[in-house]
């Protein structure tokens, strides 16, 4: 697989079809996969692909990484789940489809955290998204690297996140509030979650807007709650559940729960799943006169 990937990369760089390959390479000690930006054809052998390649590299296609945008036309090594984010970026005008080469990687799953890797991919160290993945054969690509993978995800998604959501739903509002208060009280407003998310690409985040300052900036409970509610709302109907935010949170706040809750809400209410079709608008900026609810009096 890596061989085919490197060949493709070499070809793209030699023909000039792409100016930079955004992919993965080993860190110096060969213990972790880190992002690689390869511009020369003779360096393509640095590219790797294995279950340690968890990072969602789509972030390097956004305005957050202007230095990478300046390198020229990118070709990106992307798993199906990463491609979902690229789809959202395209549908929101952040990337033009013709401006990026997507090298789709067939994928059998990745590790939840690179530290868990002991040389073998076991179900226990895979994130929930991999167990429910319907894009192991990537969906929006220019090229696919790797063999076709036979895998049918369960009809209704399952796994820890879903169990926890169900458990929380079953609790009283008071209990839920205490739970989240405890979670969010650990927030130190480092914004690592925002930094890691390729869909948090705002030129100026709402938290940085100070006239008016909707979200209090210091890391106290009130500001933390507001920030986390707003962050979740801004991702409603857009979040692809890639899990980068939770992975990056130094305080281990269960962001996946909030995000997935809204994914489920949007699916239920608007019959929409983000990341599949770059030609349709995200659901929170459109509507259907037939949208139903049961709470408006």
């Amino acid at each position: 697989m890596e061989k085919a990937l490197r060949e493709k990369a070499r070809e793209l760089l030699t023909t000039g079809e792409a100016n930079v390959i955004i992919g993965y390479e080993w860190n110096r000690r060969k213990t972790r996969a880190t992002p690689a930006f390869i511009t020369k054809a003779d360096e393509v052998d640095r590219l790797i692909f294995n279950p340690l390649c968890v990072n969602n590299l789509s972030i390097y296609l956004t305005r957050k990484n202007k230095d990478i945008l300046r390198m020229g036309k990118p070709a990106i090594v992307a798993k199906g789940c990463d491609i979902k984010n690229i789809v959202v970026l395209i549908s929101e005008g952040q990337v033009k489809r013709e401006d990026v080469v997507i090298i789709g990687m067939s994928c059998n799953g990745v590790v939840y955290k690179q530290g868990l890797w002991k040389g073998e991919l076991r179900p226990e160290i895979m994130p929930v998204k991999c167990h429910n993945c319907d894009v192991r054969n990537p969906h929006l690509t220019d090229f696919v690297i790797g063999d076709h993978i036979d895998f049918t995800p369960p009809e209704t998604p399952r796994g820890m996140v879903f169990d926890k959501i169900a458990a929380l739903d079953a609790k009283t509002p008071g209990e839920r509030w205490s739970f989240w208060l405890e979670e969010f009280s650990r927030c130190i407003k480092c914004y690592a979650c925002r930094q890691a998310c390729s869909l948090c690409y705002c030129e100026r985040c709402i938290t940085e807007k100070n006239v008016p300052q909707w979200i209090e900036t210091s890391a106290h409970q009130r500001g933390n709650i507001a920030w986390n509610l707003v962050r979740a709302m801004h991702l409603a109907g857009r979040c692809t559940f890639c899990g980068e935010c939770e992975r990056s949170c130094p305080a281990n706040i269960k962001l996946n729960l909030v995000n997935q809750k809204l994914v489920l809400t949007v699916k239920d209410a608007f019959d929409f799943k983000s990341g599949y079709d770059e030609k349709i608008h995200p659901p929170m900026i459109v509507f259907s006169p037939d949208d139903t609810e049961n709470f408006i009096k």
Partner: protein, 657 residues
């Protein structure tokens, strides 16, 4: 620091009965930025307003709160007072302490009302501190109007606008204006001949110095906004030079090829070079290119040879022009439901089953039979005719759910025309209900039944078939609760009126709405019947739904009056409550562009000197924006804001709560 004046109205006793206005005045004075407060009996009276103005001067106010009745009552009054006192009218805000306080809290101790008035006034003061002076938007208005569709509705609109002194461009798809009305024989309820009342209007439209006709043309693209539309029109090749043609008719006399006439609904042939009907305006033929031997195979060319002024031009090409107009009237009319819907009535299969417009042609003295009622199969005079109403209407399963509205009337008319022409002929009418609301309409239908002997049968027809040169109609008469079978010579279906094919595509180009039947949506069914959600675009006639000629004409005139109002001055003054984008923080995510119900936001490119796009930004078109603020809530980075209801203003009000 602002210098705010707060004025509390007692409204006689309307407010003062339950609100201690003096206390409100006193308390408000303590708020930083408030330099003057005062309560008074009637703020809106002339002494009250004079007082306001004097206070502005005396205390050098830069903003004003009036705690009084609802802003829906007197916001304008007080803002005007502000303006005449020299401060920007948008620096005046109203706290509603009457409708939403003194009148709904009847506590005579005044405690409840006073507490709430204090809150409401304080919130408004804090909001005002974040107000910005606003200037009304001035939008230049191009005074020309475009009319799409040259039926009676479009012609009427064109004539009225032109008489009002504005230039009109009338674009008609077919070779002649006139529309469906040109096909009618006589018109209910007065029975005047349709051509006699329509032709003069068509000619007037052709000759009017303010009207430019563009027939055989279609609108391809519409850009811009109210007062400033850019319209791309394709003028299809006629293969006849309009400047040279005199309309003498030598060409169509000599053309050796024939086709079914669209205008006569297949009851007659026309030549391949033709005008749709003798009174066509303009009286200039077109060549039906797909059927022309010369254009297709290079053989023939008879028309060119016989044409005296040498007007036939086989080299002619479509011309695409761009026109600028300030207002648009859409009057694209209706069609009849196509025959494949009427299997059980044998329509399309049995020659002597025809639709209403075909009957109009048979009855028309300029029609295929010279006005004699002769049946299509063998040209014999029918001794009995069955008319079937509601064919396709009022039945969602078989056709459309709505009532086509005019068929009851024209069927009654048809029975009369028939009796006047075939004196011993018997007509039968199958109907569901007779709907004849309208001036002299009921009397008209009664006349058909009582004077002209039409036999009305209430019930549905179940089957129509041919037998021995007759058309057998089987149906139910629900009034006598019996099955009936009629041996008729001819059957006329009052088929449903439907929207034009392609009505939806045109609507999408225009950015106007349509219903599930593809009839266009008026802005408000009662109060804005000829407006659309897109400012500057108006509607008239049957493109909105079924209606008769008087209504179509009334709508044409209504739309014209809207156009004349819009074009009455060089500039349109628009409320400054519009959205505005912050160029530094816009992400070009186009969330606002998609969310805006009015398509008021454009995607713009910022280019460097070499013309390379360096950034893309959303840009609000003040001419189109209505100030709903939907975009603001949609924008994640709050890069767009709504003047008059900015985030800062709302934030300040919430914080003062």
């Amino acid at each position: 620091m602002s210098r705010i004046g707060v004025f509390i109205c007692q409204c006689g006793t309307n407010i003062a009965d339950t609100v201690d206005t003096e206390k409100v005045a006193e308390e408000m004075k303590k708020i930083p930025g408030v330099v003057h407060t005062q309560d008074y009996k009637f703020m809106c009276s002339s002494p009250g307003q004079k007082m306001l103005k004097e206070a502005v001067k005396k205390h050098r106010l830069d903003g004003m709160i009036v705690s009084a009745c609802s802003p829906h009552m007197h916001e304008k009054t007080f803002r005007r007072a502000c303006e005449s006192a020299g401060i920007n009218p948008y620096m005046c805000e109203i706290a509603n302490i009457r409708e939403q306080c003194s009148w709904v809290h009847h506590d005579k101790t005044k405690e409840t009302g006073t507490v709430k008035s204090l809150d409401l006034t304080r919130m408004t003061i804090e909001r005002l501190k974040k107000n910005q002076p606003l200037k009304p938007n001035k939008i230049p208005v191009n005074k020309r109007a475009l009319i799409i569709g040259g039926g009676i509705a479009g012609i009427q609109a064109a004539l009225d606008i032109a008489d009002g002194g504005r230039e009109v461009l009338l674009v008609e798809k077919t070779p002649s204006i006139g529309g469906n009305m040109a096909k009618l024989s006589e018109t209910f309820p007065t029975m005047d001949c349709s051509q006699c009342i329509l032709t003069p209007k068509m000619v007037e439209a052709e000759l009017h110095e303010n009207i430019t006709l563009m027939t055989y043309s279609e609108v391809e693209k519409i850009e811009g906004f109210i007062g400033n539309f850019r319209v791309t029109i394709r003028k299809k090749a006629r293969y006849v030079n309009e400047e040279l043609c005199t309309g003498c008719g030598d060409c169509w006399d000599k053309c050796p090829f024939k086709q079914d006439s669209e205008f006569e609904h297949g009851l007659k042939k026309r030549k391949v070079i033709y005008t749709p009907f003798p009174q066509s305006v303009p009286n200039i033929p077109v060549i039906d290119a797909p059927n022309c031997a010369m254009l297709q195979k290079g053989k023939c060319g008879v028309c060119a040879k016989v044409c005296g002024p040498k007007a036939v031009d086989f080299e002619q090409k479509d011309i695409v022009v761009e026109e600028k107009v300030g207002a648009i009237v859409v009057a694209t009319g209706y069609d009849l439901m196509p025959n494949e819907h009427f299997g059980e009535y044998g329509y399309g299969r049995i020659k002597d089953v025809i639709n209403g417009l075909q009957f109009e042609r048979l009855a028309s003295s300029s029609g295929p039979t010279g006005g004699k009622i002769l049946r299509p199969s063998d040209g014999k005079e029918p001794q009995s005719i069955v008319f079937i109403q509601c064919a396709g209407s009022r039945d969602e399963k078989k056709g459309v759910s709505y009532c086509s509205k005019i068929c009851c009337m024209y069927t009654a008319k048809h029975t009369m025309l028939y009796r006047h022409k075939v004196h011993d002929g018997q007509s039968y009418v199958f109907y569901m209900d007779i709907r004849s609301g309208g001036k002299r309409y009921e009397e008209f239908v009664r006349g058909a039944i009582e004077k002209d002997g039409a036999m009305y049968l209430r019930g549905r027809v179940s089957r129509v078939y041919e037998k021995d040169g007759k058309v057998i109609v089987q149906g139910a008469d629900t009034l006598s609760d019996s099955q009936v079978e009629i041996e008729a010579d001819m059957v006329v279906l009052a088929t449903a009126l439907v929207s034009r094919p392609g009505a939806d595509t045109l609507a999408q180009k225009l950015g106007i709405g349509y219903d599930k039947h593809k009839f266009y949506n008026e802005y408000h069914p009662k109060l804005k019947p000829v407006e659309t959600v897109t400012a500057g675009i108006f509607l008239a006639g049957t493109c909105l739904g079924p209606m008769d000629v008087p209504e179509s004409v009334a709508q044409g005139s209504a739309a014209a009056s809207k156009v004349l109002v819009l074009t009455s001055s060089d500039e349109m003054i628009k409320d400054p409550t519009t959205a505005i984008v912050n160029d530094f923080t816009c992400n070009a995510c186009w969330d606002c562009v998609v969310a805006c119900p009015y398509s008021a936001i454009e995607k713009t490119d910022i280019k460097d000197r070499e013309g390379n796009v360096i950034r893309r930004l959303a840009h609000v078109n003040d001419g189109v924006c209505t100030g709903c603020g939907t975009c603001v809530a949609a924008c994640r980075s709050k890069a767009i804001d709504l003047k008059g209801y900015t985030d800062e203003q709302v934030y300040a009000a919430i914080n003062a709560f």
